[in-house]
Symmetry: C2
Subunit: 250 residues, 2 copies
Amino acid sequence: MTARSSSETTRVIPEATVARLPVYLRALTALAEGGIRTCSSEDLATAAGVNSAKLRKDLSYLGSYGTRGVGYDVDYLRYQIAREIGVTQDWPVVIVGIGNLGHALANYSGFRSRGFRVVALLDADAERTGEMVAGVAVRHFDDLETIAREHAVAIGVIATPAAAAQDVADRMVAAGVTSILNFAPAVISVPEGVDVRKVDLSIELQILAYHEQRKAHGQARGEVDGVDGVDGVDGVAVDGVEVATVGGDS
Amino acid sequence: MTARSSSETTRVIPEATVARLPVYLRALTALAEGGIRTCSSEDLATAAGVNSAKLRKDLSYLGSYGTRGVGYDVDYLRYQIAREIGVTQDWPVVIVGIGNLGHALANYSGFRSRGFRVVALLDADAERTGEMVAGVAVRHFDDLETIAREHAVAIGVIATPAAAAQDVADRMVAAGVTSILNFAPAVISVPEGVDVRKVDLSIELQILAYHEQRKAHGQARGEVDGVDGVDGVDGVAVDGVEVATVGGDS
DNA sequence: CGCGATTTGTTCTCGCGTTCACAAACTCAT
DNA sequence: ATGAGTTTGTGAACGCGAGAACAAATCGCG
């Protein structure tokens, strides 16, 4: 079955690796700004907050860009990762929902500096139309299709309330958007071929709260309800240092 | 070795499951608001956007809260999950860095409604001190220790520029904070026992860009690369619908 | 009371991702 | 040129999570 076709390198980068590449990219940029020209996998791993073995394996999926006995050329590797991710080119982006979060996103300098260009801010509220945010005029949501087609927008950001999210997603897809970053606290369904990533602020806090509660239980005890097992024996095992980088796994 | 003490049920909930519990909680809330009193695992799974088998397995880690042949009582299950996560109690939270994102976070209603109470907004810029944001006065960052101790704050949110993140984290830890949600695009290191979760907006976009680039390549060329086994039989595999819920896995 | 229908809880298997460990490759000093 | 010291790239083992499949349990109805 695995009639491995003619092509040699089966360029399949694991999803977990893809999620870490931007982290490496950022770490490399930081190193470059610090004047570092060359770094070892150990150096870069430390800067990125990961294991060096994992870093090397991740990079090996891209190719052999290091030199044994020496390390990696910072600028060269940086370019290779940027090219692999696709941020050497410019990606037009539309943001829908110009509330507090939409404002913050529109003003976020990290987008522009990383190859993303906000070509439109849209809101369903006609009151907001015309308002200038981060140098871009807010237009009505109905203009989505026109703008998306005009600028060949492939990536859309949803920053609306949960109730509007599905409708916005549908309209985006209809307008040709094939990648959606969803900040609305709602599950949206999209047709095949469309990628959705979801960022939920309150979920992150709830995950922290869970671990925080476990810590408290270990210390104070009390809290009879349902805590059958943990009788203080292994206070350590439960939660040591848990550094979870989101925007990571999927 | 696993001299698991007297207790029977080793209440260890997998991290992946913990990350999904808030999603289930939200879905249950939506169902409850729709007047639904009872639901099957299939119903809830659909509402949460996951596989029903996975949902049942996740819930089984909490206990047996369903009834075979019937399903789950929405309110009952909702309470059980909320209790497990720890959002039945109120968590005081401090937000440091009142820029665009800090503003958005302070105004985000999803926090309050889910058991989190913003007790302080802090900024290092003395200009901002006294400013009212979301009904809370902005105070100077130096007040962190005082406020954190006073309100027994365990959870802190970093919304500062990258350069300030590590310092803020250090001060938070010194003030007794043991869980940090970091929005700054920087890797921060904390002592053992302190949890850190990182949300990075631009990384999410970069991950989307990667997949978007692959799609484009696929169209232009004959998308030879990497499609090993699946030779058209089930065109689903490569990049069919990839819905990655962040704030999910870790 | 018994039987079919339904749905949960759990077991089993498979695949992915992480980590270890080491050979290959490169530099530098002598 | 050769050997010692580094560092990459990768093969292999391991553990966790996802998904399928099934047994156990409950309800409804005759």
